[in-house]
């Protein structure tokens, strides 16, 4: 059966995901070492150790994301996170930075290493380099690849692949995007945040609500209509005579229907985005996907998707998995 890798932003979400059938949970410490460094989110050292014990007692794994790029002059903060993840009993760490991978291979050789999507390793040569140089055992593929390309990659590598199937969708190659810091000074790579709420401002202007990020208008919606969060790459902009969602519509990823194709492509693990999501949301999504991967493994048709409810009011896409998206 394909491994279902589920997000947990809080200890409560971790327990909910494990109880809903997650095979593995990924989470991070409450600081800039992980790429979901949001206020009120993530784990203390104690909470992680408790979470690992809870998950292990129920046959689930815990993967710790230490996937930002350490700040020059401040590497010890990231090195401590690695050591503490190993001490807490983490089953693997998810890393993106070359220096941190080298440090882990040298100082924590027995700690299993997964390559974060933030490393954007998009072909067999890059993946094999990470495998050979740092003993990486699994790579989370960037969201720029089609299913056919994923299958081709799996034929040329010996490590496992993990792909995103549900939740937020980066339209840019991850780990290589500084749109957010251009507008706000804070970026995924350096600070673990994208389009941070601290830099969002809403203003009622005539019949419209303007949503701005770092002073740049990301979209305008009629007053009273639902206003999506102003994520930079999902904004509405103007270019020459055209106005619209030039990069991507405010959609989220749903590749449920592609689970059989991804299995045939040799994918080992399916990842659900959303460490910032509520415990109830996580439990519902996990339950639905667990049923789907079980059906797939048993050669049965996928169960009627219970996910429609979760994406209701918001469009979903299969993103780059379908070649026409490009």
């Amino acid at each position: 059966m394909m491994e279902l890798v589920c997000p947990a932003g809080t200890p409560a979400a971790l327990r909910a995901a494990v109880e809903a059938g997650a095979h593995a949970i990924y989470c991070g410490f409450a600081d800039e070492t992980n790429a979901r460094n949001f206020p009120g989110l993530n784990f203390s050292r104690e909470e992680l150790a408790e979470g690992v014990a809870f998950a292990h007692a129920r046959g689930a794994k815990v993967l710790v994301a230490i996937n930002t790029f350490p700040r020059a002059g401040a590497e010890p903060l990231w090195h401590r996170a690695l050591a503490d993840a190993e001490t807490a009993g983490a089953d693997a760490v998810i890393l993106a930075d070359l220096g941190l991978l080298a440090h882990t291979a040298e100082h924590h050789p027995n700690l299993r290493r997964h390559l974060s999507v933030q490393a954007a390793a998009a072909n067999p040569d890059a993946i094999n380099l990470y495998a050979q140089a740092f003993g990486v055992r699994r790579v989370v593929l960037p969201r720029v690849l089609s299913v056919q390309e994923i299958a081709a990659i799996n034929r040329e590598i010996d490590v496992e692949t993990e792909v995103f199937v549900f939740g937020g969708l980066c339209v840019m190659a991850e780990g290589r995007c500084s749109l957010s810091s251009y507008a706000t000074g804070r970026s995924p790579n350096m600070n673990g945040v994208c389009s941070p709420a601290s830099h969002v401002a809403y203003a009622e202007e005539g019949p419209e609500l303007a949503a701005r990020l770092g002073g740049f208008t990301i979209h305008r919606t009629p007053k009273g209509a639902p206003a999506p969060y102003p994520t930079l790459c999902k904004g509405c902009f103007t270019s020459a005579e055209q106005t619209g969602h030039i990069f991507e519509d405010p959609v989220s990823l749903d590749a449920t229907q592609l689970i059989p194709a991804l299995a045939r492509a040799g994918v080992s693990a399916l990842k659900i985005e959303g460490r910032q999501r509520s415990r109830a949301y996580v439990a519902q999504v996990v339950r639905s996907f667990r049923a789907a991967v079980e059906a797939q493994a048993a050669g049965q048709p996928l169960p009627e998707s219970a996910l429609a409810r979760l994406t209701e009011g918001q469009a979903a896409t299969t993103g780059a998995y379908a070649k026409t998206w490009r």
């Binding site: 339209v171 500084s178 790579n189 270019s239």
Partner: protein, 301 residues
């Protein structure tokens, strides 16, 4: 401190490429990186210009390296990358894929699309053969200073993005094609219509971004004109100037004059405002609250 000219991000005609490098041979720059780093589909249209450009630049005493693509997914693109390593010229890697093809110990350069944010990464790349690293443009001055020091210790020259629209993102999707209601596979090379990229404004008319095929750049042109002293103090070895249309060799001469003390940074900045596409400058990644910020804005009133 000296000057490096980076690879051209935009899709220009073969004739424009030829003229650009012929002129650049006379510009006061120490080295040039040439090659396609944004979209492999463009390469057949201008790759025949590369050997002549390399020869001309080398004859003019400039060091030359070939750039890899920044996003490599197709088999054809992997082959192109492997071929680069076999040319015998220095290679500038803009994706780790290229490293897979460079034998350990062979010297190479590292471009701004490789994430070098800290000393550990710099040292690992140096150990693998890196001799020159252009840092990611989003790094603040404090990080630049730490990395320049680490570079000196490891025998690596550290460069900073000195001039040009900032490469902010790269994608599997082509935004130029999308603006023309086409998919990437049927793009009909529409990015050639915008030799400095196509501007993307906010709904309030704020100048914001530029799309260039699969790449997204800043609308403002980053310039270190007002930061040269700070970068010199930090131990930065070179400024990277990124190609644009117009009098690019004149722009190179402007930076060279500031480095030589013949012109002030403020004078250069004032000149540049009239020379860069869109007319706006920024240096906020290095020292401001956000990348789009321009430290000269207050002085200019």
């Amino acid at each position: 401190m000296d000057l490096t000219v980076g690879p051209n991000p935009f899709f220009w005609t073969a004739g424009a490429v030829r003229g650009f490098y012929a002129a650049l041979a006379r510009a006061p720059v120490a080295r040039v990186v040439i090659g396609e780093w944004v979209c492999s589909k463009r390469l057949p249209f201008w790759q025949d210009e590369i050997p002549q450009a390399v020869e001309t630049l080398q004859a003019a005493g400039k060091a030359v390296a070939l750039s890899s693509l920044a996003l490599i997914t197709l088999k054809r693109e992997r082959k192109l990358t492997a071929d680069l390593a076999a040319t015998g010229l220095a290679v500038e890697i803009n994706d780790l894929t290229a490293l897979h093809h460079i034998p350990e110990g062979t010297p190479f350069w590292v471009g701004p699309m490789v994430n070098v944010y800290n000393e550990g990464t710099l040292r690992w790349l140096a150990g693998r053969g890196a001799t020159r690293i252009c840092l990611p443009p989003e790094l603040p001055l404090e990080s630049v200073a730490v990395l320049a020091q680490a570079g000196r210790e490891a025998g690596v020259s550290v460069e900073v993005w000195g001039h040009g629209r900032l490469p902010l993102a790269i994608s599997g999707r082509c935004y130029h094609a999308r603006l023309h209601d086409r998919a990437k596979d049927n793009c009909q090379f529409v990015c050639a219509e915008d030799p400095d990229g196509r501007e993307v404004d906010t709904l309030d008319g704020q100048k914001f971004l530029v799309v260039n095929g699969v790449q997204t750049l800043s609308q403002s042109t980053a310039s270190m004109a007002l930061q040269i002293e700070a970068l010199r103090d930090a131990g930065v070895a070179a400024l990277r100037l990124s190609p644009q249309t117009g009098d690019f060799t004149g722009i190179c001469r402007g930076y060279a004059a500031v480095l030589a003390g013949r012109k002030s940074g403020a004078e250069l900045a004032a000149e540049l405002a009239g020379q860069v596409p869109g007319g706006r400058l920024s240096d906020g990644f290095l020292s401001g609250p956000a990348g789009a910020h321009w430290s000269g804005a207050a002085a200019a009133g």
